[in-house]
């Protein structure tokens, strides 16, 4: 192992620790906000935004998605399209509700 490689690993480890601290902090933040009794819609938006930030941190740094090969982005992009379709499907049902 050469010196530059060792330095590289150390740099990565520092990033992992920062991400870990950020994840724990955001967990405390989201739990605290949930006790503030916000009305339903803002509460859902805030909780999902925080969860998305946490999820992105895990995917980008722990799963190294921040610098990955194109083929993996393509596969995940396809999955993301279908995932969003699944998530928005119930909303379509809601707009179609019989009154």
């Amino acid at each position: 192992m050469d010196a530059s490689h060792a330095e590289d690993v150390r740099k990565h480890v520092r990033i992992y620790v920062s991400v870990f601290v950020a994840l724990l902090t955001l967990t405390v933040v989201t739990v605290t906000i949930s006790y503030l009794n916000l009305s339903v819609v803002p509460a859902i938006i805030v909780a999902l935004v925080i969860a998305s930030v946490k999820g992105s941190l895990v995917a980008s740094y722990f799963m190294h998605l921040i610098s990955e090969k194109k083929l993996i982005y393509a596969a995940l992009g396809l999955a993301a399209v279908f995932f969003l379709a699944l998530i928005f499907l119930p909303l379509l049902a809601m707009s179609d509700r019989i009154h």
């Binding site: 992992y16 949930s34 969860a51 722990f62």
Partner: protein, 194 residues
């Protein structure tokens, strides 16, 4: 027969096969959990009332911290192999497995508490989707722990003969483990906080 592209990247994909394979598997997992999240939304918008803070939030917050901690120990076990430090790898991988076990023990206490209070899946739509989602997630934790235990124990022999291949195995096992953490990051607010 030798398995191709375990260390050297395949020229057309630029990836070792295991990594692409695990990512494709994770894409299918996104769809599996996506279907359940979609069901959750449908059930919730179709319900007259939805319980708020009926689950044990402090316990689940601890469990969230446990799973996040297991993610950093997992990535550290891989970084230790990159530093060619096998002893450190064993310690971090061991910690990852133990943290997974702590998560399951806490979940066990939550489940038994619910069962004792008569809060079983048939009690309400909320408990039905709660047990389905956390149960499937728990099975994923168990699966990850089995794989990680193999790489901690008998599977780690490969470090002596093919260290680079073993390092790649730990990286892709980590991808799965982080995915399980990522799913929990969304399950926690959706089921416990909202």
């Amino acid at each position: 027969m030798e398995i191709p592209y375990t260390v050297k990247a395949r020229p057309d994909t630029g990836l070792v096969n295991a990594k692409l394979g695990v990512w494709l598997f994770l894409a299918s997992e996104v769809m599996l959990f996506g279907a359940l999240f979609s069901s959750y939304i449908l059930l919730r918008i179709g319900s007259v009332e939805w319980p708020h803070h009926v689950l044990d939030v402090p316990l689940a917050t601890i469990n969230t911290a446990v799973l996040i901690s297991s993610s950093i120990t997992m990535v550290m076990s891989w970084a230790s192999l990159m530093e060619k430090n096998f002893g450190k790898y064993r310690r971090f991988m061991g910690a990852t497995i133990l943290l997974g076990l702590v998560f399951l023990i806490i979940k066990y206490f939550e489940y038994t508490h619910h069962f004792a209070a008569g809060e079983i899946p048939s009690k309400s739509t909320f408990f039905a989707i709660y047990f389905t989602m956390t149960g499937l997630h728990g099975l994923h934790v168990i699966g990850g722990m089995i794989v990680n235990s193999y790489f901690w124990g008998p599977g780690s022999k490969m470090w002596k003969t093919q260290p680079e291949r073993f390092t790649n195995r730990i990286e892709v096992a980590g991808l799965y483990w982080h995915f399980v953490d990522l799913v929990w990051i969304f399950l926690f607010p959706v089921l416990y906080l909202l």
